[in-house]
């Protein structure tokens, strides 16, 4: 049983070692692709098993929970692992056309695989301290990727990213210390049981807020998001796509996990804070995007605003709202990573990412224009694409609670999202190139490697959009598990297979 849990972790680590050894040869990129492909197969296998069994748990080193390190996959973990593998696979293929020989020599493919391992580990672990370790694995790999063969701009963004993330780590560790001091355990399942017995519920709320800030920095919520727009537009496009898709979502996942399972003792306070945070995140993110004119900076601010929707789903804490949050999480990773990949192709065709200085893509590369429209409209929430259903469920949940103002904000932010997407569309795609360049897809080096992942992710968006029912049903099952953690607790603390 535990092979299903460990394989998605072991494969990227092995791939990373082999890719590092082969970093000077073109085979390194293929090792990364094959590793990601095998990882995808392993995550599909995990998903199938979890769909059948509900929750599976494995004790590493055979120390029984809550003493040893537990790996757990419930539906939320499994779907996050699967989506990580899909994004990883797409970006690994894309890297063939994006990563320079010099970056590959410096170990890009090895770092990329370690990043995937770190993200997967964070989704699979059932132990708070182990989550910290996976966060650090992920962070160190991301530092490396961010500044790999970088100039002043990359390092400048890297410094802010590193400093703020280390502060968040310090808060996270302090929270872990306080929580361990109060409950004597760090296992999620055990914590869910033990926090109810804590006498000092006030201190528990303080700890909850510490975790909220620590994960909030990782998730880039208001007012802790400043590192994200400073860093995400600087590295290679393959790197920024995987960052944009996955890294902040690990923070969101950790928030969802902790604030549904462990810190549900004072929902009136903690989730009200989350509600305000969510509203501000949505609004500030989308306003920030409106002020930008760089392709990737616009998209970076949109990550922040979209994170707001997910946090909103968590803050409302009704079953429907959580369904929305889970659906949003999955949809957003695919769409966002795809938009960054498209930004990369647009840059190679037109020579820049500043939207006012490029153009003409619609006329000379209509296929790319269509590929852009799909995720862009999905992000803005046009029916029948995946983003429409995600936004619809969240807005419906706010209306059910009669929170008219929040619903208004969510809808208005959607409208503003269309505004920025229109800006990219009108400037980069519709208007002629100011320098008269007619960028054609034919001139793209390694065309297939760049277009196939983009097209694949776009097709996924359309599939979710046209046929949302199985995904919503799945999100409902996931939510049921989140709201009633007893199967999770039983799987972790009960008999181990």
């Amino acid at each position: 049983m535990s092979w299903y849990l460990t394989l998605p972790l072991v494969i990227p680590f092995v791939a990373s070692i082999i890719a590092y050894l082969l970093r000077s040869s073109p085979l390194g990129a293929w090792v990364s692709i094959i590793g990601s492909g095998l990882g995808l197969i392993a995550s599909i296998a995990l998903m199938v098993v979890v769909l059948d069994a509900g929750v599976i748990a494995g004790q590493m080193g055979n120390w029984p929970a809550p003493f040893g390190i537990t790996l757990v996959a419930d539906l939320l973990s499994a779907v996050m692992v699967l989506i990580t593998a899909i994004t990883g696979f797409a970006v690994a293929i894309y890297a063939l056309g994006d990563i320079t020989e010099r970056q590959a020599k410096l170990g890009y493919h090895a770092l990329f695989q370690i990043l995937l391992a770190g993200v997967t580990g964070a989704f699979l672990t059932g132990d708070l301290f182990n989550l910290y370790v996976w966060f650090e694995v992920m962070l160190i790999a991301s530092f490396g990727l961010l500044i790999l063969n970088g100039g002043k701009e990359q390092i400048d963004g890297g410094v802010k990213y590193v400093a703020l993330n280390l502060i968040s780590t310090i808060l996270f560790l302090t929270g872990i210390g306080l929580l361990y001091g109060m409950t004597g355990t760090l296992n999620f399942a055990d914590l869910a049981l033990k926090v109810e017995e804590v006498e000092n519920q006030g201190l528990l709320t303080v700890v909850a807020m510490m975790f909220m800030v620590a994960f909030g920095v990782k998730a880039a919520v208001f007012p802790l998001f400043f590192w994200l727009p400073a860093a995400y537009h600087t590295p290679s496009f393959a790197v920024s796509a995987v960052f944009a898709g996955l890294l902040t979502k690990v923070g969101v996942y950790a928030l969802i996990r902790m604030f549904t399972m462990v810190f549900d003792h004072d929902i009136g306070f903690t989730h009200t804070v989350l509600l305000w945070v969510a509203c501000f995140t949505m609004v500030i993110g989308v306003l920030g995007a409106a002020a930008q004119s760089d392709f990737r900076k616009i998209l970076s601010f949109h990550i922040i605003s979209q994170i707001g929707y997910m946090i909103l789903g968590l803050a409302l804490m009704t079953p429907l709202a959580l369904v929305g949050a889970v659906f949003y999480l999955v949809h957003h990773i695919i769409v966002k990573a795809n938009l960054f990949l498209i930004a990369g192709i647009a840059k190679r065709l037109t020579g820049g990412t500043e939207v006012y200085q490029i153009g003409g893509l619609y006329k000379s590369a209509p296929f790319l224009a269509i590929l852009f429209l799909i995720p862009a409209f999905s992000l803005a929430g046009f029916p029948p694409l995946s983003g429409f259903w995600a936004k619809y469920i969240i807005v419906k949940a706010t209306l059910d609670l009669e929170m008219w103002f929040v619903a208004f904000i969510a809808l208005a932010v959607g409208l503003m999202t269309i505004y920025s997407m229109t800006k990219i569309w009108a400037e980069a795609f519709w208007k002629p190139h100011p320098e008269g360049i007619e960028p054609e897809l034919k001139t793209l080096p390694n065309k297939a490697a760049q277009l196939i992942p983009v097209a694949g992710l776009a097709v996924l968006t359309i599939i979710i959009g046209l046929n949302p029912e199985p995904f919503v049903v799945f999100a409902e099952r996931t939510t049921a598990q989140l709201l009633d953690p007893s199967p999770y607790i039983a799987a972790v603390l009960g008999e181990t297979p």
Partner: protein
């Protein structure tokens, strides 16, 4: 002993926060290191302070110290050591690449440059 350790954590945290707020790479790195030390000791104390007690089970002994925080701290120290090395390299790269060690985007503020620069 509680007072000693609590005040040590407090002083290191205060100094760390002050240094981080200097917004220049070297003080920020020192500040983050100090904060990490403070957190490491804090983690250590989360298992309660016991003097002269073994962390492993033995016959005829009734007082034990909690071994888990010690294991956690060991992990945290190793990780923070690695992190510090990475941050020093990035900070050094940023300084050498731009002759400017401000962490924020402010242009060179020549009036405050000499003061506080180690």
């Amino acid at each position: 002993m509680e007072l000693l350790i609590a005040s040590a954590i407090g002083i290191m945290t205060a100094a760390g926060i002050y240094l981080v707020l200097r917004l220049r790479t070297f003080p920020v790195i020192l500040g983050i290191s100090l904060l990490t030390y403070a957190v490491n000791i804090f983690l250590f104390t989360s298992g309660r302070l016991v003097v002269g007690a073994p962390p492993v089970l033995r016959d005829d002994i009734t007082t034990y110290t909690d071994p888990l925080p010690q294991a956690l701290v060991l992990t945290a120290i190793v990780i923070s050591f690695g992190m510090t090395a990475v941050v020093v390299m990035i900070g050094l790269g940023a300084f050498l690449g731009s002759d400017d060690d401000h962490v924020d985007d402010q242009p060179d503020r020549s009036d405050d440059a000499p003061e506080g620069t180690p």
